[in-house]
């Protein structure tokens, strides 16, 4: 058998032009693989050899066939033999390989770009605005990241998943970290500080003052950030730091008492009153200094080889103890004061937890701090506001127990429910394991208004995302405790303190979440109904049905697997432009869908659409209840918001009443580095009167400095 065919071709020409010996078994293997991808139309084993021969017979005799030619013949032969679905699988397989090869070719080109182009000219270097890719270490990090992506695409991911990512059906976030670690964690500093801890590079004993509490908080965030690819959050910052304040007060009280007695004698009355008053004053001052140092540290200390500062989030607002209140008030004060030259601090992301009976209404013990938080946010954009009374956050809440207060990562990630262990629906020690987003507008573009088709495609994409998340988890679960000297070695991740160094982390990781996200609900609705949910009730109705369906599917997947599958309103910084770029190539420029450089964030009403603040909140609020892996809504306010705190408060109160989980007010915060003015700058700086790029006389600057002594120094020689 086959004596003629096998003798005809001795070599085959590969894509790179090289020649390799012709091997008919490779053709048979390719057909078998395609066949196995479609169990319902599988080719019987006995048919494989005859099909292979048929392929070879179709090749032009006496030539050196190319790989492409062979693949074309495989397709034709399969179609002719009636194996249509196998042929389709084979075509897909080919297309995916082609895309993967494309990315292989591009790697060295990417390295070239990373090396020889500045960030302002290369979008790839501004994927994440908080990474400085122009520095040596930032570039090194990008080399690693791009190389890792190449490895994962070509050697790790199942081909259909790699293909779906590359063609933009889905987006696997932080894919460069696929083989390494998890996204983020909510750190319980109270537990960590007890009896001291080790960063992996040295042991630190239990802190004894608010000064060292704040310093160690930064170190803990920094150490953990280096073991995970996302951000780090402290869910109970006020409660954690209050312990340090207590210790400082005790020391200051003893010192003041001793001073009094040394000066006035042992029996002079009034010693205790003096000591108490003096100690609180000193403690308050020390707490301010500690918070000021913390804000400075979190904006300057290095992480990830110096390319970034740690991505830090602090939640607070509900500790009503005198010490806890002192922490909150001073952190807000330090935030208003700003950095060295009065700049707005970029980190930590601050989240003020709003709760009825605690801080929401006049008469609540922390109402003054809520007001203070709004005034601070009006000036510095932080804090954001989370709402513990939202119907989906309230059921977990137990008064005074921070572990039951829902916290948010600054970017919006939320972790609370726990199907793996329903007794551990807690905040501390948990986080997201990984997340993957679905390109919703593309499904809308493909379905063209046909709902049945839309939901069928959506289910297909979600099943693919579930499979991919589990594929990634299968890699994550094989790590040992010793792979995470800080996160696990110091017992920060829930239950990790019960593991031996060589134990697998599988069981404890199951407390984390696997999230499916989405982008561009607005464009999806335009594709399906010709209008987005901000402008049409019918579109809002469909939007809610789509996102409810996605949530139900996540819940179902969670029940079936015992893993915490959750639905995420994806933050999408790097992703905001990626899908639309590919979709514009596929579908052309379509008004309201692919005609901008970005897809609208998650379930947001498009940023360009004029709508009142309250209508926007009312439209977006129902989606907060559905997206249990995290969400955020914004309102854009005009002008100098510090002069309009009443309106600011009206927005925050509206968010709370409408059932928003996490929200914030955006407003312009500009700064002129020359004179140091911070506030709204339109065309002309209100302080020094210069326009952007214009020069200012040293004389004028000197004059201004007399009026504003906090003006930055070092920019000039005056």
């Amino acid at each position: 058998m086959g004596q003629t065919q096998t003798a005809v071709f001795t070599h085959i020409r590969k894509r790179d032009g090289s020649k390799v010996p012709f091997d008919s078994l490779k053709i048979l293997e390719a057909i078998r693989l395609a066949s196995e991808a479609v169990p319902e139309n599988k080719i019987p084993a006995s048919e494989l050899a005859p099909l292979t021969k048929a392929v070879i017979e179709r090749l032009p005799a006496g030539t050196e066939p190319t790989v492409e030619q062979v693949q074309d013949m495989v397709e034709e032969t399969l179609v002719e033999a009636g194996y249509f679905t196998v042929a389709k699988a084979y075509i897909l397989y080919r297309a995916e390989h082609a895309k993967v090869r494309q990315s292989k070719d591009d790697l060295m080109h990417i390295y070239e770009q990373l090396t020889f182009t500045d960030a302002r000219d290369a979008d790839i270097k501004r994927e994440n605005a908080n990474i400085d890719a122009d520095t040596a270490m930032g570039t090194m990090l990008k080399y690693g990241s791009e190389g890792s992506n190449y490895f994962v695409n070509n050697y790790i991911l199942p081909k259909d998943i790699a293909g779906a990512h590359i063609n933009g059906d889905i987006h696997i976030h932080d894919k460069d970290f696929y083989m390494l670690t998890e996204t983020c964690c909510q750190i319980d500093l109270i537990k960590l500080f007890r009896n001291g801890f080790s960063t992996g590079h040295g042991f630190l004993r239990e802190p004894n003052s608010i000064t060292s509490y704040a310093a160690l908080a930064c170190i803990a965030i920094q150490a953990n950030q280096n073991e995970m690819h996302g951000g780090q959050s402290v869910p109970n910052f006020d409660y954690s730091m209050a312990e340090g304040v207590r210790k400082t007060y005790k020391k200051e009280y003893a010192r003041a008492l001793a001073d009094f007695k040394a000066l006035r004698g042992e029996n002079e009355p009034g010693a205790e009153e003096y000591a108490e008053k003096t100690a609180w004053e000193r403690t308050d001052r020390l707490t301010f200094q500690a918070m000021e140092a913390l804000v400075h540290n979190l904006n300057t200390m290095n992480s990830r080889a110096g390319a970034q500062v740690p991505f830090s989030s602090l939640n607070y607002g509900t500790d009503t103890s005198r010490e806890g209140r002192m922490v909150i008030a001073n952190l807000l004060k330090a935030t208003r004061a700003g950095l060295g030259n009065g700049e707005t601090p970029i980190f930590p992301v601050q989240i003020f937890k709003v709760k009825e009976g605690v801080n929401f209404n006049p008469g609540d013990p922390n109402y003054d701090l809520f007001k203070d938080a709004m005034a601070t946010s009006a000036m510095r954009l932080f804090p954001n506001f989370s709402f513990l009374d939202a119907p989906f956050n309230l059921p977990y809440y137990k008064p005074g127990d921070y572990n039951t207060e829902v916290a948010y990562m600054g970017c919006r990630t939320r972790v609370m429910a726990n199907v793996h262990d329903p007794d551990r629906q807690v905040t501390c020690g948990r986080g997201n394991l990984s997340f993957t987003s679905i390109n919703l507008p593309r499904i809308g573009l493909l379905a063209k208004g046909d709902e049945k088709k839309f939901f069928a495609l959506l289910d297909e994409r979600m099943d693919l995302a579930f499979r991919q998340l589990l594929h990634r988890f299968d890699i994550q679960r094989k790590k040992k405790r010793f792979n995470y000297p800080f996160l696990m070695g110091q017992g920060i991740w829930i239950d990790s303190d019960e593991l031996d160094p060589t134990d697998s982390v599988e069981e404890v990781l199951k407390h984390g979440t696997l999230s499916v996200g989405f982008i561009g609900l607005a464009e999806t609705l335009v594709a399906m109904r010709g209008a987005h949910h901000g402008e049409s009730e019918a579109s809002q109705e469909l939007g809610l049905r789509i996102i409810s369906h996605m949530r139900e599917k996540c819940d179902e997947q969670a029940r079936n697997t015992g893993m915490n599958f959750t639905l995420l309103a994806t933050p999408a910084e790097g992703l905001s432009g990626r899908f639309v770029k590919i979709d514009r190539r596929m579908f052309g420029e379509i008004e309201g869908i692919t005609d901008r450089d970005y897809y609208t964030n998650s379930f947001h009403v498009p940023v360009y659409y004029p709508i009142t603040a309250f209508k926007k909140i009312a439209t977006e609020a129902p989606y907060h209840a559905l997206t249990n892996a995290g969400h955020i809504s914004y309102v854009e306010m005009d002008g100098d918001v510090t002069q309009n705190l009443e309106a600011f408060e009206a927005v925050i109160r509206c968010m709370k009443e409408m059932g928003v989980g996490y929200g914030s007010v955006n407003h312009p915060v500009d700064r002129d580095p020359v004179c140091g003015y911070t506030g709204v700058i339109y065309d002309v700086c209100p302080r020094c009167g210069r326009r952007e790029g214009e020069e200012l006389s040293v004389e004028k600057l000197r004059e201004l400095r007399r009026k504003y002594p906090d003006m930055p120094v070092g920019k000039c020689d005056c």
Partner: protein, 53 residues
């Protein structure tokens, strides 16, 4: 001596514009990626009415 040489500062220095991206802030908008710069550019303000009736 007749002509006064005026010393100046700030030529070419831009204003810093700090905006929220996805829950967090970034230093200035020139660190935004192209898509986010486009989005930021398109943002419109939302009117707020505080009247209770």
């Amino acid at each position: 001596m007749e002509k006064n040489e005026v010393k100046t500062v700030g030529k070419g220095v831009k204003f810093e514009r700090i905006r929220r991206i996805t829950g967090y802030l970034v230093g200035t908008t020139d660190r935004f990626n192209d898509a986010k710069q486009a989005e930021e550019h398109d943002r419109v303000k939302h009117s707020i009415t505080t009247a209770k009736n």
